[in-house]
Amino acid sequence: MIQIKNWTKNPAGQVLLATLLFCFIFVALFIGLYKSGMLYNTKERAIRASNLTALSAGAVYANGMQLVRLTNAILLGFAVADLIVITTALDLTGGLSVIIPSNFKDPNFRKMIQDIQSVLFGINRPIGVYPLLISDETLSVAVQNGLRNTYPIGNPQSWSLPIPPSPILLFNVVSLASDLPQAIIPNMALKFRTANFFLNAIPKEKKYYKYKSEESRKDVILNSDQVELAPNSKNKGQMRVKTGIGKKSGQYVSEVVSEGLSKLNAIIKLANFLASLQLDVTDRDIPAIHNVFVYAGYPTSIQGPRNNNTEIQTLSEVSISGTGLAAWDINDPPYQTTLASTDPVELVKQLSIQTLLSKAIGSIKLPSISNVFGTVLNGKI
């Protein structure tokens, strides 16, 4: 130690020490440059991987939308046949106040195609075949682009979901705060259109009842909320004033019959009948929203504070847009896939989605995936 101390007082020793110090500084500089350069490149690759994965999801999704158009075109033929039978059976002499026979049954030739559409696209079902295909293709592309994959490739019975899983696909998100559970399940935001698509709301049938007042000798008119079925009456279906309504509780009433009211109720009956007729497949939301978010991690070689490899979290959004899904749109240009831009408005939206996802993932205690798969395999879904 004394020798080293004496040596450091020597000019040659001091020069050597200074040289070692500068070498150390430059080695640290080069290591820092190397790591930062590698991390910068990794960040670029992560963004690229996420964008290409989202674009791939959009491509498969757009193909699915064209399939919807095709099945709707096939459905149109069967729907025309049904329409002919229906219009033949209905009495249309009264105009809109259509008389529907009591023994009328919808022939429903279109049901076979609708069942295929329901299974294929997951309409009115928890999940569909094609949305699963979108998920599978997207996950495969994600793995090939280097994104971290935590989903089972071996035996799914003995695997539990890590937190956070990667990648996460979110489908057709309008508002993540309310749509998160629905968005995680692969879906194409579709529904069956019903024949009453031109009506916003169908009113209930209007029925009015009356009794003659003894004091004024005039008819007192009541609506259906103010009357009830009279028990123990000789006449079946006899109505009376509801208990607790005015002085005439229990007073028997008779139904008001007028031509105008009958016509209105007939129109309402027609509207309800149309609401029961399922037609083709259409967009679930108005305006139509079809998008896919890919939220994933890209592993880096940088070690974290807990000696684990860190990863870069990425989020990409792709939207799928087109002119419509009806049968007559089959020759229109196919649905287009557009990658969301990184302008400040989109960035704020993406950051809010990232924050919500991180909070949701951190707070949810997910069950073992083997339980979910077991339920699916046992046919309970």
Binding site: P11, V15, F22, F26, L29, F30, L33, Y34, G37, M38, Y40, N41, E44, R45, I47, R48, A49, N51, L52, L55, S56, G58, A59, V60, A62, N63, Q66, L67, L70, L133, D136, E137, S140, V141, Q144, N145, G146, I153, P333, P334, Y335, Q336, T337, L339
Partner: protein, 168 residues
């Protein structure tokens, strides 16, 4: 006082210590300059790598948007997108090898459909219209002069990416 021996002794003392800092500076400054230049060229190398990765990503996006049809067009697009960093690469060394992307469950499903017969394959090819490619892009980087000492044949850069597209 100014005897020869006295002067000699004084001169010897002066000649031992004066000019030491200047000599040290003359030795150190070129070394520092070399190290700084090396750091700058090291950074330029990483920038070239980043430009290469960006060019590959941009070409893949154009492919997904149906603007590029074949490997030659993709190669030209990658080279063009490298912009001012083209001088750091050798164009003859830019190679793209392609293969079909793999999707385990989807491939199994489609192979099962295909095994039903040629008509099933035709129907499948009509219904399932999206395609894609997995690319491996390699290029040799011409390193800066200081780094070229270590890599005389150039530094190979490689990038792998996969994308699907739906033809318009």
């Amino acid at each position: 006082m100014f005897s020869g021996q006295y002067l000699m002794a004084k001169f010897k003392k002066i000649s031992k210590s004066s000019g030491q800092a200047l000599v040290e500076m003359l030795l150190a400054i070129p070394l520092l300059f070399l190290l700084t230049a090396g750091a700058i060229q090291f950074t330029i190398l990483f920038q070239a790598r980043s430009a290469f990765e960006k060019a590959c990503g941009e070409a893949a996006r154009q492919y997904a948007a149906n603007r590029l049809k074949d490997s030659a067009a993709i190669t030209d697009a990658v080279w063009k997108d490298m912009g001012p960093y083209q001088s750091y690469f050798r164009k003859q060394s830019l190679r793209i090898s392609t293969q079909a992307p793999q999707a385990a469950i989807a491939d199994t499903f489609f192979n099962a459909i295909g095994s039903l017969g040629p008509w099933a394959s035709k129907v499948k090819s009509y219904l399932i219209n999206y395609t894609g490619q997995s690319w491996t892009v390699t290029v040799n980087c011409v390193p800066p002069s200081l780094v070229a000492v270590l890599f005389p044949d150039g530094i190979p850069f490689q990038s792998q990416l996969t994308v699907l597209k739906y033809p318009s």
